[in-house]
Amino acid sequence: MNNGNGNKIANKFVVPIGPQHPALKEPEHFEFTVDGETVIDATARLGYAHRGIEKTAESRTFVQTLYMMERVCGICSHVHATAFSLCVEKLAEVEAPPRAQAIRVLVAELERIHSHLLWLGVGAHEAGFDALFMYSWRDREVVMDILEALTGNRVNYSANVLGGVKCDVTDAIRDQILTGIDYLEERTHHYYDVVTTDAAFLQRTRGVGTMTKEQAMRLGVVGPTARGSGVEQDLRVDAPYAAYDIFRVNRVVEQGGDLEARFIVRVKELFESYRIIREVLDNLPEGELTARMPRRIKEGEAITRVEAPRGELFYYVRSNGTDMPDRVKVRTPTIPNMASVLHLAIGHQLADVPMILAGIDPCFSCNDRSVRLKSAGGDDVWTWEKLRKYGIDYYND
């Protein structure tokens, strides 16, 4: 058995994590070669949650595809739907009204809160800290009740329609949101305290999975994982979409690079989200909720980039004049972050591996795509230069 450098690994021990493992919430297969307790090699095999969603988009209308795209992931379903709606609206050259965009931002921030609280609990559970797990999930119920009152469902909110949103914010819901946010903010201050000062928890997170800024940029990580290593990248600030040009976001960046920094980034992002939600509710523009959307979208292709709770989400939609999309391509944030796990795990103890895996906030159901290389030839590992050269040559031919 060879590792990447071509050296033989003599009778070392391979620990499989997944596809069924208590550490993983969704199935994927990782193999960690350990020597005693230290990891010396890591490989991954993805694809266990592949459902062929991109393929189903080719035989369904745009309206039906919206709901398919929403179900790519359970925790980030709203940003998928938002990205798809924005893409199709770009193709049809329709602008959703300002009130709809603001409500999209509202639900997106509520979803971010939900996702980060969920992740906080899961990260604590991987460290064996069940008290934090139970309490943060108990508080997550508050935001799920808010989302249920606003949109009608606790996950897969279906708040988006092509051209706007479905659900409006009434005064009663507004009050419920504000009360809930006040309670959550108080609890988040407490969790920030726990995450930064609890001695037993810090022993598991401080200095674990350190990634320098250069490494983060070379590996191409996105989202809070990158922001924890000092990379200043947040799509809501760099390339505002929906109503983010009106409701400005502050980037939350930490320099530590280890797991503790990633915990801190996500908890601080919770505070940002509370602030944005209050701002949106105070300044909700008046108007209608949807714009008139044609059934047949004219030919063209469009891309959107959106900041999901886990990082940059990229959508490409191509239409051919009918009411069914020609091709939808999704690139979720967990794919680049996954490569960094394999790189970071080497040299750490086996006990740190679930923590590192939880640290990137993996969403395995998002990241399963299949790529078929038709004639590139060879099955060796391609370097970045080779891939770029291939792409440039392809377009020059």
Binding site: T61, M68, E148, G152, S158, V161, D193
Partner: protein, 141 residues
């Protein structure tokens, strides 16, 4: 960040001992469903115009509209509970407001599959529609 404490969750944990558990003891305690909860699809035949957009737009093909006579407003609607994803696209597509999702019907589990097929419409309309389909002539929108 140089101060480290032991047992930071102490206050929570001790408080949790004396508070009521956060668990909702379903089915003995049922919480109120919010008004916008997307439950069972409900069709109001009097408002329906028979355009069939609801059936066309449904992402999971759970709704089926059979038009017997558009002018006389004789429609039959077939609704498959088990295929429905409760997304409310049908309610949004309907321009007449004939479809809504009931917020109090969300406990829809059943032991057999047959109970998941609902056919709405006047009884003789239903019989006529099913007979027409059985004979191979469909009048679906």
């Amino acid at each position: 960040m140089s101060v480290t404490k032991i047992g930071t969750m102490f206050g929570d944990v001790v408080n949790g001992l004396f508070k009521k558990p956060a668990t909702n003891l379903y089915p003995f305690e049922r919480r109120e469903a919010p008004e916008r909860l997307r439950g069972h699809v409900v069709w109001d035949a009097s408002l329906c115009t028979g355009c069939g957009l609801c059936a066309k737009d449904c992402p999971s093909n759970a709704l089926d509209m059979i038009v017997l006579d558009r002018k006389a407003k004789r429609f039959v609607m077939r609704y498959r509970l088990d295929q429905c994803t409760y997304c409310a696209q049908c309610a949004t597509s309907c321009r007449a407001g004939a479809i809504s999702l009931a917020y109090d019907q969300w406990e829809l589990a059943a032991p057999t599959r047959e109970s998941f097929l609902h056919i709405y419409g006047a009884p003789d309309d239903i019989a006529e529609a099913l007979a027409a389909e059985a004979n191979g002539e469909t009048g679906e929108a």
